[in-house]
């Protein structure tokens, strides 16, 4: 077990800079997800940690060792690849024994270790098969087994579930969470799937354009997105974001945009009038009560809830999450309420920083950390 530190790490490929001065501190035993759209730099980050790419500037620390110049095999890490990268000419047992063999574990000791790991991953019956003879889920288990068989300081997982079907994915997701809990090892998990990141990680590092956007526990990322990018990226369906401006009216802050005039929750010190964005999550939009009027444009029923898109004006559409399957007709005009206390205000621009405290917990940073997971959990983080 070891902590992992990125200190001002930059990576350039020729003229293209994939990573701009990344600072990231992963605690020992922590499960961290690197989350972001493709091309955000998350895979480059993981590959640098693995030693498959080398940073242009900055330092990478594993434990208390600077590993910048160490070969992958010298870093005491194990990695699961998106493609599984099982050695096609070796049997399952040989695949799992390979890292042991390369590290000089005597042949007599390898057998029992393979047997033990295989049992843990339900692979015992498959030990003599070649990877080609296995299903996707079984191959994934072998790849995990090859990583788990040693006791490395850090596990690296590069979108390990993305090639599996939805059912298998959720099953293996649960197994991975259980595995991390049991082993307590430091794990770095790259994914573009926010559901995986939200459900598995202790903390999520959200990246975009080679920059770290936010590094926080899942509940906090959801409840208190650090900037507009994170707000738009996390959550399904996504947060509605309305562009407009912050104005001050008789000492009261208001948000104005597209004919709307909305109350604004407590702003952080230093927020000033000017262009801004108003964000509201689907569960904080109420249909059938409220002081706004809107026309229903689209309803998407999933059974336990219905996602309703309402047009407040020609330009502004908000998305609401309604439990069950209410009888709403498209074109129907309904009262709409936006829960101002739960609104998120961001400065202008695609990466505009957050300008308000979350959910009326102005300044109460510590208490909010405890309250946030409960609040979010009761509403369902993502569908």
């Amino acid at each position: 077990m070891a902590n992992v530190d990125f200190r001002a790490v930059t990576k350039s490929f020729g003229a293209f800079t994939a990573l701009h001065g990344l600072d990231l501190s992963i605690k020992s035993g922590e499960f961290v997800a690197l989350l972001g759209p493709s091309g955000c730099g998350k895979t480059t980050t993981l590959r640098m940690l693995a030693g498959l790419e080398f940073p242009t500037t900055g330092d990478i620390i594993i434990g208390d060792r600077r590993v910048n110049d160490l070969a992958p095999g010298e870093r005491d890490i194990a990695m699961v690849f998106q493609s599984y990268a099982l050695y096609p000419h070796m049997t399952v047992a040989e695949n799992m024994a390979y890292p042991l063999k390369k590290r000089g574990v005597p042949k007599a000791d390898r057998g029992p270790m393979v047997a033990k790991t295989a049992e843990m991953l339900h692979l015992t019956a498959l030990l003599d098969r070649k990877p080609k003879q296995l299903s996707g889920g079984q191959q994934q288990r072998v790849a995990l087994g090859r990583a788990l068989i040693r006791d490395p300081k850090v596990f690296l997982l590069d979108e390990p579930l993305s090639n599996l079907d939805a059912k298998l994915r959720s099953q293996l997701r649960a197994e991975l969470i259980e595995l991390h809990r049991r082993l307590g090892r430091t794990m770095v998990y790259v994914t573009h799937d926010q559901l995986e990141a939200m459900t598995m990680a202790d903390r999520i590092a959200i990246m975009e354009g080679g920059n770290l956007q936010q590094f926080a526990p899942p509940a906090e990322v959801y409840a208190r997105p650090a900037n507009r990018f994170v707000a738009g990226f996390i959550g399904t369906p996504g947060m509605t974001l309305i562009d407009g401006a912050l104005v001050q009216d008789q000492g009261r802050w208001l948000f104005e945009g597209d004919g709307l005039r909305l109350d604004v929750p407590a702003l952080v010190a230093g927020a000033s009038a000017g262009p801004a964005a108003f964000g509201i999550r689907p569960e904080d939009v109420h249909i059938g009560r409220g002081d706004l009027q809107g026309e229903i444009v689209l309803t998407e029923a999933t059974g336990h809830e219905t996602i309703v898109t309402v047009a407040l004006s020609a330009a502004v559409r908000v998305v609401a999450r309604v439990p069950g399957t209410p009888s709403l007709r498209i074109g129907e005009r309904v009262p709409v309420g936006l829960d101002a206390a739960c609104a998120h205000i961001f400065a202008a621009g695609p990466h505009g920083v957050r300008l308000n405290h979350p959910s009326g917990a102005a300044g109460a940073d510590e208490t909010d950390n405890i309250a946030a997971p409960l609040r979010v959990a009761s509403k369902g983080v993502v569908s």
Binding site: L52, G73, M79, Y87, Y98
Partner: protein
């Protein structure tokens, strides 16, 4: 109804005609090699020999340089094959796995040399080999054959190498192997079909080569089978047909044996690049 039957019939007739046309010379070679001298030019010719004899084979093996040429050819083809496969495999690895300036142009330059007719290269190559003091040696032929077998071999290996996922090598490196260790443990086994195709291709090419052998070597100690047999049995006045056919049979046997065992790999090699290896 008629068309349903006619199609396959026409196709079969065509296929068998082609096969016969290709196979008949081989059959005639075999038959001629076991006919006694007296039966060779008889008219009408006998399809199957009336009396069988292996005297031509015995004559070749006991009274001529045939075995020397045979040994030369085996050595020449084997060494060339080893050299070409080694260089092509490592070269392909470099071209596919490493990023450096001029990588693509290098690959095309190598291919370009393959486009030149060998006659154009033969004189410069001869002069170079002479100045290196290698004229009239088997080694000079090894070098010459390598120059024209390597480009194709390199491209063949390159397409096989491109079919091996990068992740395999990375996984091996993370698992504790060095780059070379990963290459040997993980990459080479994936390349085996490619290596066999390339080896077969190079071996056949070297075994059958005539022009370079004719120009670069003119001593019996270093002659391979192709030029050796021609030199020995064909003169301006006479062609020893029965001996020539016996020699041809014995020259073909090693290739046929190797081919029979490895032909599935060779056909796979021709498909490389089209289908992931």
């Amino acid at each position: 109804m008629m068309r349903k039957f006619l199609g396959p019939v026409v196709l079969n007739v065509f296929a068998w005609t082609t096969i016969l046309a290709v196979a008949f010379p081989l059959f005639w070679m075999l038959v001629t090699s076991v006919k006694p001298q007296s039966e060779l030019f008889r008219r009408p010719p006998t399809m199957l020999p009336e009396s069988w004899t292996f005297e031509h084979y015995w004559h070749l093996l006991s009274q001529t340089n045939f075995l020397v040429y045979f040994r030369n050819s085996v050595m020449l083809s084997t060494v060339t094959t080893l050299l070409v496969v080694t260089v092509a495999t490592l070269g392909a690895y470099s071209l596919v796995r490493f990023r450096y300036r001029g990588r693509e142009s290098l690959a095309f330059m190598v291919l370009f040399t393959y486009l030149l007719p060998s006659v154009v290269l033969i004189i410069p190559l001869y002069l170079m080999l002479v100045s290196m003091g290698l004229s009239n040696t088997l080694f000079s032929l090894v070098i010459a054959y390598t120059t024209f077998a390597l480009p194709y071999a390199l491209w063949l290996m390159r397409s096989f190498m491109a079919g091996v996922p990068d992740d395999l090598e990375y996984a091996a490196m993370v698992d504790g192997a060095s780059r070379m260790g990963a290459f040997v443990d993980v990459i080479l086994p994936q390349l085996l079909p490619g290596i066999i195709s390339t080896a077969l291709f190079t071996f056949i090419l070297s075994w059958n080569e005539y022009l370079y052998a004719l120009v670069l070597v003119n001593s019996d100690e270093a002659r391979p089978l192709t030029t050796g047999v021609m030199n020995m049995l064909i003169s301006s006045f006479n062609i020893e047909w029965s001996l020539l056919m016996a020699a041809s049979v014995m020259m073909s046997v090693p290739l046929i044996i190797v081919f029979a065992f490895l032909q599935s790999y060779l056909t796979r090699g021709f498909g490389a690049g089209a289908v992931k290896g």
